[in-house]
Symmetry: C2
Subunit: 188 residues, 2 copies
């Protein structure tokens, strides 16, 4: 049982300062569609800013109950498992309430950390389904160091053949979900 949390505070900006980022429409949709494709249980959007949660709720409601539901039912389906949360503590409580146990927290980062967990290993753990897992993603230039320290694991960073690794958070979520939950194509 995998959930994901997209954190808008506390995250850092390019200069390393702690900031609160804004929720973007593409983060809501792209990540919800990827989460739905890969069978993610819940997609938690985390921000302490009430106005931001209201903004996101309005978009989600449009697609679940409003005219959007008729216009594009695949969006409706994708957004059904999205929840708006004030902080990670609330995410932990929601997971414990809905899935019977607090989650194993796995932070993600583009930077290398000591002793990361490999995607293959986490994929195995998810296959065993012993406990709920929550993958934490940072917006802006990444998660605050405290979140990474507090996590049970840090996932290995995504690497291509070059030093450049500035994936959008939307891309990073998609790639990790594919590594953790993809199913082989019957024909391949």
């Amino acid at each position: 049982m995998l959930s994901i949390a997209l954190v808008h505070y506390p995250v850092v900006n390019k200069e390393g300062r702690v900031v609160t980022t804004s929720i973007t429409n593409f983060d809501i949709h792209d990540i919800a569609r990827a989460a739905c494709t890969y069978g993610v249980a819940r997609y938690y959007i985390v921000t302490p800013v009430e106005l931001q949660r209201q903004y996101a709720r309005r978009i989600i409601t449009h697609w679940i109950e409003g005219s959007g539901a008729e216009h594009n039912p695949t969006r409706t389906e994708a957004l059904t498992n999205v929840e708006l949360m004030t902080d990670l503590a609330a995410v932990g409580e929601a997971i414990e309430r809905d899935f019977g146990r607090p989650p194993l927290w796995v932070a993600t980062s583009a930077r290398p950390f000591a002793n990361p967990i490999a995607c293959g290993r986490l994929r195995e753990m998810l296959g065993n389904d012993a406990e709920p897992v929550c993958l934490i993603f940072g917006t802006g230039s990444g998660l605050h160091a405290q979140i990474i320290e507090d996590a049970d694991y840090v996932l290995e960073p995504i690497r291509g053949p070059r030093d450049y690794n500035h994936l959008s958070v939307r891309s990073a979520v998609s790639v990790y979900l594919d590594r953790l939950l993809s199913v082989e194509s019957p024909a391949s």
Copy 2:
């Protein structure tokens, strides 16, 4: 040598009708950043609409030469290999001019087609580097059937554990690039 082409015409909409889609800002940035991360040679944005190409060129110029370059140099780097093209024929000519041979065309689709090429097989071919490869992505609800027919290969669709597979094109590009060009993390 892998390039990617993002096609805005001819593509189909939800109802299967042939349409021209608009270039979106997130398609420019997210895909350019993924392409740069995975060492893609060129990212071609394909539309016959001159005004659309002008719009994209203005955005790209802002980040390469304008105030954006100072503000965020990683965007500058990502956008350096983006080219605007009228159609796939022009993409083929550009690849032949820059890389000495016309490309092997590999179409992508969320729907299953007979005899797809597996990602693992295409990864091997890219490792041998015998000829340039151009991966074709459709916006809207996917590539026109004629592009898929004309391609040398169709890549296996991305699958999760469910029937739902409505990834954004930004997610699909990221996942395929990871499958084809990722490098293992040293620590994993």
